[in-house]
């Protein structure tokens, strides 16, 4: 629903501002492919395994109990202004792989967040962290 509203708003703004926006196939930027996420096994995969596979996390929380890896997926691209000075831009979705490790350093749980608005994703991530604290 939010996506439809945003698309409508973008289209209206485009027509008013002399700009064009086109949907793109999903284009990940620094993304983690789903098959590599599927390969992570709670209770088996260790923190060292995650680090060797994905490198430095975007976020480290609570003495490395939590790691987060962020990336974007471009779904719209556009240009504003007329030739010869058209300015290109992209509209990415925010993605985050959040991982909680147990006391033994193995994955306790993980979740992939994907939202158009970074703020919404951050709110959901905060709620996810609180679930961990409650356990």
């Amino acid at each position: 629903m939010a996506r439809a509203r945003l698309a409508t708003a973008l289209l209206a703004a485009s027509l008013a501002a002399g700009c064009i926006i086109v949907p793109t196939p999903p284009i990940p930027v620094d993304g983690i492919p789903q098959q590599r996420i599927d390969a992570l096994e709670p209770g088996v995969t260790t923190r060292a395994d995650v680090l060797m596979a994905f490198g430095d996390p975007t976020l480290r929380l609570e003495d490395d109990r939590y790691f987060a890896y962020d990336w974007g997926v471009v779904r719209f691209a556009g240009a504003v202004g007329g030739a010869p000075q058209a300015y290109p831009f992209v509209i990415p979705d925010s993605h985050r792989l959040a991982i909680e490790f147990d006391a033994g350093g193995r994955i306790a749980r993980l979740h992939v967040f994907a939202r158009m608005k970074t703020k919404t994703m951050e709110q959901e991530f905060e709620a996810w962290l609180k679930e961990g604290e409650a356990r």
């Binding site: 196939p25 490198g55 202004g81």
Partner: protein, 109 residues
């Protein structure tokens, strides 16, 4: 006006990227010393210096790998040159290198 947007889509599609291992024969060859049997943390730090980041009570280390104009690599940040790769190393409790991985460098936020 459509042309720039479509050109951008094509350029982006070509730039789709993911975290994970990379293959760069020249850099891998220069990091060949990491495959030596019995290599220790002291040997690595003598070659590459202090790691950029440490994890797991020092059992995992991360280095930025910079490729200089002449193709040589360094783990010490030269001015105005971003790292091209990230080198991850895992050490055994006795300090021997257990495994290493060369990954695409992703800028932290």
């Amino acid at each position: 006006m459509r042309a720039p947007a479509f050109a951008l889509v094509l350029a982006l599609a070509a730039c789709a990227s993911s975290r994970g291992p990379v293959e760069d024969a020249e850099v891998t060859a220069q990091l060949g010393f990491l495959n030596r049997q019995g290599l220790t943390r002291a040997d690595v730090e003598a070659r590459l210096g202090e790691p950029r980041t440490r994890y797991e009570r020092d059992s995992v280390a991360s280095y930025g790998v910079y490729v200089l104009r002449d193709g040589r690599i360094t783990a010490t940040a030269p001015s105005r040159l971003p790292p091209r790769y990230t080198l991850m190393l895992e050490y055994a409790p006795d300090g021997r290198v257990l495994r290493h991985a060369l990954l695409r460098h992703i800028d932290a936020k």
